[in-house]
């Protein structure tokens, strides 16, 4: 099954997936590369933004350099009936950047995944402990990042 993208949409996605050029006229540069007018490009991008296919555009910062050096993935074992309550609660915690429900399995009973960021290990521990106490979820596992192995923009259109 291919994604239902038009050929123009594939061209645009292919041109923007690596990010915008560091240029004072980024849209003009992208449009030139595709061979369309900047207005055509902006129209499609605004449409995608309105449809929320583009969630956000702008600067993507390096958390480590911004002083958010301590980060961990914390996974929680939440009873099915409490998933919405706890998920909504975690989503409101400012130091949580991501919160997802994912399926557990026999060797991995955790179902709620959160990414927690803090400036120090101490602050991270305090945040995670508070999340546990306030949510009432006591079974959790903290997976500290040892090393970032790879971080690249998602590639949607793979040039062969």
């Amino acid at each position: 099954m291919k994604t239902p993208l038009s050929s123009l949409e594939r061209d645009i996605l292919s041109a923007v997936q690596y990010g915008m050029p560091v240029s004072r006229s980024p849209y003009r540069d992208i449009a030139d590369k595709i061979g369309i007018s900047p207005e055509e490009l902006l129209e499609k991008l605004r449409e995608w933004k309105a449809e929320k296919k583009i969630r956000r555009l702008g600067a993507i910062v390096n958390h480590f350099q911004m002083g958010h050096g301590a980060g961990a993935m914390v996974v929680w074992k939440v009873p099915k009936s409490e998933v919405d309550r706890v998920g909504d609660f975690f989503a409101m915690v400012p130091k949580v950047s991501h919160a997802y429900l994912r399926p557990p399995n026999e060797q991995w009973p955790y179902n709620l995944y959160t990414m927690v960021h803090a400036s120090s290990d101490k602050e991270l521990q305090e945040t995670v402990n508070a999340m546990s106490v306030e949510s009432g979820i006591t079974e959790f596992r903290q997976l500290k990042t040892v090393r970032e192995l790879k971080k690249v923009p998602p590639i949607y259109i793979i040039e062969l």
């Binding site: 099954m1 994604t3 996605l13 923007v16 997936q17 690596y18 990010g19 915008m20 560091v22 004072r24 980024p26 849209y27 900047p38 207005e39 902006l42 991008l45 995608w48 929320k52 296919k53 583009i54 969630r55 956000r56 555009l57 702008g58 600067a59 993507i60 910062v61 390096n62 958010h68 993935m73 998933v83 998920g87 975690f90 989503a91 950047s97 991501h98 919160a99 997802y100 429900l101 994912r102 399926p103 399995n105 060797q107 991995w108 995944y113 997976l143 500290k144 990042t145 040892v146 090393r147 970032e148 192995l149 790879k150 971080k151 690249v152 923009p153 998602p154 590639i155 949607y156 793979i158």
Partner: protein
């Protein structure tokens, strides 16, 4: 990094204009000269504070499939796994974590069957038993906000 840099980053993160002259508009909002803004943007990019200026795409709404994968692999095989992971453009983020399941990565592909194919290939190439590779597709999104505050 000073206060103006922080204000610039905040604007660049939250309000990057979909207009032909985005930096002109940003300079006006920040009430600074556009050349000063541009000089600082280039510095922030070159020093690596800003990874890139780009688009955060909702892969699902765009018609794609994605998942989070955990792999349990002996420490001496981690380097080999990294090399393999690097070769897949569909694998976007990968972290080494402190756990028996030590490698975690995200995959974005055109559909589910392609994800299955990639995971099968990785399992075979690293000679891993079925249960050493866990697949965790999202069932519900509660929050996704990677902006610096």
């Amino acid at each position: 990094m000073d206060d103006l840099d922080r204000r610039i980053i905040k604007e660049l993160q939250e309000n990057f204009p979909l207009e032909i002259n985005p930096y002109g508009i940003l300079a006006e909002t920040l009430a600074i000269d556009v050349d000063e803004l541009w000089r600082r943007v280039v510095d922030l990019v070159e020093s690596g504070v800003i990874r890139r200026i780009g688009f955060s795409i909702d892969s699902r709404k765009m018609g794609y499939s994605s998942t989070l994968v955990a792999v349990r692999i002996p420490p001496e095989q981690v380097d080999k796994a990294c090399e393999l992971i690097d070769r897949y453009p569909q694998i976007t983020h990968s972290y080494l974590r402190e756990d028996a399941f030590n490698i975690w990565f995200t995959v974005i592909a055109e559909d589910r069957s392609q994800i299955t194919k990639i995971l099968d290939e990785i399992r075979i190439k690293l000679d891993l038993a079925e249960e050493k590779v866990m697949n965790f597709p999202v069932e519900k999104l509660f929050k996704l906000d990677a902006r610096f505050k």
